[in-house]
Symmetry: C2
Subunit: 330 residues, 2 copies
Amino acid sequence: MFLGIDVGATWTRIAVADRDGSIVKKVRIPTPREGNELSLVEAIIEVLGKEFRSYMDRIEAVGIGSIGPLDLSTGSIVNPPNLPIKRIELGKPLLEHLRRPVYVANDCVAAVWGEYLYGLGKGLENVVYVTLSTGIGGGIIVDGNLLLGKKGNAHEIGHIVVDSLRRLRCGCGGYGHWEAYCGGANIPRFATYLIERWSLGTEEKRSKVYQQYLEGSIRTETIFDEAKRGDPLARKIVEEINRVNVAGFESVINLYDPELIVVGGSIALNNPELVLEPIKGIEYGRGALNEIPRIEPTMFGDDVVLVGAIAIASNPPKNLVKKLRYLEQL
Amino acid sequence: MFLGIDVGATWTRIAVADRDGSIVKKVRIPTPREGNELSLVEAIIEVLGKEFRSYMDRIEAVGIGSIGPLDLSTGSIVNPPNLPIKRIELGKPLLEHLRRPVYVANDCVAAVWGEYLYGLGKGLENVVYVTLSTGIGGGIIVDGNLLLGKKGNAHEIGHIVVDSLRRLRCGCGGYGHWEAYCGGANIPRFATYLIERWSLGTEEKRSKVYQQYLEGSIRTETIFDEAKRGDPLARKIVEEINRVNVAGFESVINLYDPELIVVGGSIALNNPELVLEPIKGIEYGRGALNEIPRIEPTMFGDDVVLVGAIAIASNPPKNLVKKLRYLEQL
């Protein structure tokens, strides 16, 4: 059996599964926001003792799909933008405790590996996973090879410069990145930018989004909820978000020539008609030069990274293993 | 020995080289602009008979780096935008004639393979080649794997959407692509677009570029030549070109996390200070999220694709060979 761990900014989810990826038991705990570099591993070990004791003897390996940025050589999270702890150790201390292989990977890298092994990507050789969530991330398999790159970051598709005029700044500090416009954390700023440049009519000013704008507190959820109800201002904002999302997906198609793009993340999964449909409607010729691949939501829903972590545990990609130097201790 | 062939829109260059990539003899012929799908192969065979007869017995394999788009399964060029012939057969008829392996690859794919084997990329695992020329193209190696993708087009970096406002249309029909602004063939249109939106002063209107604009015949060369001489309008246009080039290179850094980017193509190589310097000046944080790689001009100059074709012949990438179905005839 295999253990999969999905480390998110809010929740850490843990599951045991069979070799075929089917989950036998899963538990989630809040990701510690206080403490030191070992607090997360200590919390995980506690849960393993309490909830997974009966499986532990049979665990062959552990896979972790984690928020980044990661230092793969030690298997740790370094300066995560969404957590107050500066360095979080994962791979090394967990391996020392469990005396079993512990493979750490970026969350989207894990997700695409899960889709490739257990999901819609089974049997394909060119698969991209894109998450539209708080941030925008990707995991990429080309010709059957998982892309990692020099430091393991060859998949930062959220940081494609989609706007060479660089109207907005990204959470990473860069300008004009896809995520700066369409990442859930940045959508309120993009909406504010748009509202301040549009001349709005009376009806649009009645929008709940406009009220939140006046109060300086636009919420991403409100934009999508109001757009669903037909609110004209919210719909106009969503149109602009979609315009940038389509540009991002067209670049992904041109850059990786995939057979399949699997889409995950709350913004995509919660808004199939508003957000997913325009992406699925991408046509050859307008911005996409390569053949349009299948574009589908993940079949694993919220579990996509967890399933990916299990896939990483059961079939660790060779080029990933090479980068996880702490494994040498085994 | 190995035969390398660089098929360009204007010239086809042929060379024999040793296993270490050193060229023993090279010849160039005009790429036929008339005739049928076999005219190019016939011209190549004629040159081989005339100029390379004494080497032919010792040739182990042939590598071709060609303009695209390519149909790798038959090794042919299909609907090349810069040639009047609709389909040009290469791999199959040449293999039938020479009875030796003939490997066909995209020109930039060949170039990056040449840099990896014989050039600045020797000993590295993550190398990107970018050409700034009539068009913008790339070849990419991540974790030692050459990226090809479903149809062999996982490297269309010239078609990253850098402008989600989609101000300009690309030669491929898409909108907002990097190449639509900075490809040599499109620079006159980008310059026209800018001139029509700027309010120009008297001095700027004295520019040779402005005179060409009035005549509807801006030339890319004139822009760079005049900018070198300090012409203020030409310099302003080059600044805008550089702004988009920098966005493109930042995306490449974020997407592939390379150790090295090698730059080739006439626009880059002829304008080291005007075009290359701003790219080499890319800094972490402004748009690039990953560590900034070395960015260097190719040491092979105009021969970069030819050297790449030789590299493809001497060490054919496994995933490329799998796609060249016509090789089964051997």
